[in-house]
């Protein structure tokens, strides 16, 4: 058996640490490379890209591709840029996230604190929604939207996303509220608060971390959705993901790679911002909870 002196221990740990950092660095570069390519090429004139070196920094810096992607690029038949579709996405994602999160919280509240006969089965069925592939529901959903008169509209898309999101949001909130002390609910009952008052005044204000998790999850999923947008939206309600596809895969004219890159970054920007902004609150919320004990 070899006796590790403090010196060798330090040296080996340094070596191991260097190795770990090297591997981490390689992976970081590897994962950041696509973003780098997108950003770099979105600020180059088209000629520079045509010369072939995708990894080179721009010789001439220009924001024209961004302007074009945002407001003038040809999307389908209209030279509108991504802007109207971006607005469609915002109009879809905000109510969809808000409603599905709120309903999920309500479901979690009922399933943990107002138990009823068969609540386990109800929860199981809701969970089932997490595992149904999108494609299966396309045709029945189209039929229902038609019956409701919501086909091809933003409210229709909101409805689809709320329904599809409920399984996950319910799961998140149920698990969170399961650990929430029932005595608090009982104390509030004795204090005379009713079902909704307990929810608004006691439960929701204590749900910060799980709300952030749910919002991140729902926002990313709904913003990035392509299938429902392509299936259920009309031209005037199409989300930005569809528009981006139409921009990039148009088969006429010159392929403006720089505009495509700029458009792709634009379309991905909101999810990125949500991650960066609320991700921090998420960690903060977790830490606060951990220290409180």
């Amino acid at each position: 058996m070899s006796q590790a002196t403090p010196e060798t221990a330090v040296r080996t740990s340094l070596l191991v640490r260097a190795l770990i950092y090297a591997v981490l660095l390689i992976f970081a570069v590897y994962y950041l490379l696509p973003l780098f390519v997108m950003l770099v090429n979105s600020v180059k004139p088209l000629d520079e890209i045509r010369q072939g070196n995708m990894l080179a920094l721009p010789q001439v810096f220009t924001l024209d591709p961004w302007r074009s992607a945002w407001s003038t690029a040809q999307i389908g038949v209209q030279p509108t840029g991504l802007r109207p579709y971006f607005i469609n996405s915002v109009l879809m994602v905000i109510p969809a996230v808000a409603i599905s999160t709120l309903l999920g919280a309500m479901n979690g509240y009922v399933l943990t604190k107002w138990r009823f006969r068969g609540d386990g089965i109800v929860f199981g069925l809701l969970l089932f929604a997490c595992f149904i592939p999108f494609q299966i529901v396309l045709i029945p959903m189209a039929r229902i939207l038609g019956l409701l008169g919501l086909a091809g509209s933003t409210p229709g898309l909101v409805l689809v996303h709320v329904i599809y999101g409920l399984g996950f949001t319910t799961l998140f909130f149920r698990n969170y509220y399961d650990a929430f002390p029932t005595e608090l609910i009982r104390a509030a009952q004795i204090d005379g608060a009713g079902f909704f008052r307990i929810f608004w005044r006691i439960l929701l204000p204590s749900s910060g971390p799980i709300i952030v998790v749910t919002v991140i999850w729902q926002f990313t999923n709904i913003w990035n959705d392509f299938l429902f947008g392509a299936s259920f939206a009309d031209v005037d309600s199409q989300p930005v993901t569809i528009a981006l596809n139409n921009l990039v895969s148009s088969s006429t004219g010159v392929k403006e790679y720089n505009v495509h890159f700029a458009g792709a970054v634009l379309a991905a920007l909101p999810t990125l911002i949500v991650y960066i902004v609320s991700g921090r609150y998420f960690v903060r919320g977790l830490m606060a909870g951990a220290v409180k004990g």
Binding site: P181, E183, R186, A187, Q189, I190
Partner: protein, 369 residues
């Protein structure tokens, strides 16, 4: 008519009977302690009084009014929970005022009531803090403040002290007793700690497996336990319960205790009821404080019997020294004065105060004498 009445109360969860016909009466201003081991149904009983659990059968009356079907908020009760159940998102002041806010009391009135209660409990300086910034004892006070401010007909306490450390628990116990003495409000208090039960209660209800074992004053419960369970559960160290045989002996009778390696010990008992059980096996119960050294024996007692026994273990506890011997095949604890010098394995004289002796039937576990 009693202030709080519980008549033939049953509670079933599916096929499981949790409470099997409980009958209790508490007078106005009384302090009822529900005590028993985990799972005996004491917390369920409290929750049914609060209205947090429905009842399957029976009736609960508060001040003459049946409250069976009333919502918890309409029963005019207040409850202090084991975990304090303070709303984490509200300040201490908001926590205390929440009940009034729900009932639509105007803000000025609320503030006044909160300030008053905070002064009583000495938490005025904490009103703006969040519960997470408080110590255990402070949280306990806030939880009591939230109950006090409602000025209810009945206070319900659900093991309120079990999350505190030992010293704080004793302090808060005294404080609760003082509060009760000054307010004179009826209290129902759940605990598994028999010392809390003894010190606080005017009436104790001992529960086990959903059945009321005994209901009486602390003195009755302690000195006249109705059965083996109550005798064993109440008191610390627990009552010595020793298998013994009764022999008729002239006018009285004697309790015969087997001993290893020594002839059996005969303890004379002047107990009339015991004569009927001559020749039978019984369980002989005697509390540690009734087994002492000779000079520590109660001078007022008539039936002190002295006998030499071999000491197995000596446990000095400061105020007293507990001495363990072996009788009838059981460890028997006696309480001697702390300045007695007793060595393990020596044989010393013990004094048995037979006035305090109780006897149980080993089969039915009921008290027989």
């Amino acid at each position: 008519m009693a202030f709080l009445e519980i008549n033939n109360l049953h509670k079933r969860f599916g096929a499981v009977d949790v409470l099997k016909g409980i009958n209790l009466q508490v007078d106005e201003g009384g302090f009822l302690v529900l005590v028993g081991p985990s799972g005996c149904g004491k917390s369920t009983l409290l929750n049914t009084i609060a209205g947090l659990e429905t009842i399957s059968e029976g009736e609960i009356r508060i001040n003459g009014r049946a409250v069976n079907d009333l919502h918890p908020s309409q029963r005019d009760i207040a409850m202090v929970f084991q975990s304090y159940a303070l709303y984490p998102n509200m300040s201490v002041g908001q926590n205390i005022a929440f009940g009034m806010e729900m009932r639509g009391v105007p803000k000025a009135e609320r503030d006044k009531a909160v300030a008053e209660v905070a002064k009583t409990l000495q938490i005025s300086h904490l009103l703006d803090r969040k519960p997470s910034q408080l110590s255990g004892g402070q949280r306990q006070r806030v939880a009591m403040g939230r109950a006090l401010v409602r000025n209810p007909q009945v206070f319900l306490f659900d093991e309120p002290l079990s999350n505190l450390d030992a010293k704080l628990r004793v302090d808060m116990r005294t404080e609760i007793k003082r509060l009760h003495q000054s307010m004179k409000t009826t209290i129902v208090y759940v605990t598994h700690d028999q010392i809390e039960a003894m010190t606080l209660a005017t009436k104790i209800a001992v529960l086990k497996d959903g059945l009321l074992q005994q209901f009486g004053t602390p003195h009755e419960i302690y000195n006249n336990p109705a059965n083996l369970f109550v005798a064993d559960f109440m008191g610390s160290p627990a009552m010595n319960l020793i298998p013994a045989k009764i022999e008729a002996n002239g006018a009285g009778c004697a309790v015969v205790l087997a001993r290893d390696g020594n002839p059996p010990l005969h303890l004379r008992a002047a107990n009339e009821a015991l004569r009927a059980h001559a020749g039978q096996e019984v369980i002989f119960g005697l509390r540690p404080e009734a087994i002492t050294d000779e000079s520590g024996a109660d001078r007022m007692a008539g039936g002190v019997v002295k006998a030499d026994c071999q000491v197995e273990v000596v446990e000095p506890a400061g105020a007293d020294t507990y001495v363990v011997t072996r009788l009838g095949g059981r460890e028997v604890i006696g309480r001697m004065r702390s300045d007695m010098q007793v060595a393990p394995h020596s044989t010393v004289p013990f004094a048995f105060n037979m006035d305090k002796a109780v006897f149980f039937d080993p089969k039915s576990e009921r008290r027989i004498a």
